[in-house]
């Protein structure tokens, strides 16, 4: 696949992966990367695992909850500082 007069390399693909997945690239470049990824098992695996790492971390972190004892300490602190809290 020709991209800017050169073949799309795996390196270029990885460099542009964030822009590619966020749809930030010009249409022709987006198309060139799609074609490269479609024909390159390494870049397919790379793309899937790149997306998955971010998605898994997001789901893990969104599950964070304030521990009840910490919540109580914050409430006590604010009660001491804010009238009527």
């Amino acid at each position: 696949m020709i991209f800017g007069g050169e073949r799309v390399s795996c390196q270029k693909c990885v460099e542009l992966l964030r822009d590619f997945l966020d749809g930030d690239l010009p249409r022709d470049v987006q198309g060139a990367l799609e074609t490269h990824i479609g024909g390159c098992p390494t870049c397919q695996n790379f793309t899937n695992t790149y997306r998955s790492a971010s998605g898994c971390a997001k789901r893990r972190l969104l599950a964070d909850q304030v521990p009840p004892e910490l919540q109580a300490s914050v409430e006590n602190f604010l009660k001491g500082k804010i009238p009527g809290f």
């Binding site: 390399s9 990885v14 870049c43 998955s52 893990r60 969104l62 604010l78």
Partner: protein, 207 residues
Amino acid sequence: MSSSPPLVNEMQTDRELVELTQKGDPSAFPELVRRHQTQIFRLARRMLGNDADAQEVIQDTFLSAYQKVPEFRGDAAFSSWVYRIAANFALMRLRRRRIQPDGESIEDQLPKFSESGHPMEPVLIDWSKRADDELMDKELGRAIDKAVETLPPDYRVVFLMKDVEGMSNEEIAEMLETSVPAVKSRLHRARLALRAQLGEFFKERQE
């Protein structure tokens, strides 16, 4: 006995609660704290690495928000406004600590390529399906925690704001006083580093 309904309830918008606080109703601000403390805890806990510092950030944030609420004009959502205050407190605390990323630098986590642009280590395993299936697994959870924790703070904060909280690149750039391209670059590198760390985890698990 008066049967008038309570002024504050869960159905009210943040804007309404802010207005009540501005008018001096003491019951509205605790509801704002209740609504937004989890998001602030998530940022502070992951940025600072422990509950004690996270607690201080939550306390400082809401006290400061209460003191500044008379000036709040509603140009941004209350959630963004209070999150920005929290991010500043967390970043200040980090700077005071002068945390240096220990161990490997993020450069070590980035993929390496030959001169012809081919990967030095071909990606033979696609572990993305396993990661989705095993997300509740404790070991994987710990591996994710460690991977996030070892990101350098400048990268970690961008990852938390963008990929976890879903903020725009522009909002993040403004909050961190940097450029949008810098935000995009840090986010990409953070994702690459997380991917590399989780790849190692699945590789070791397979062996």
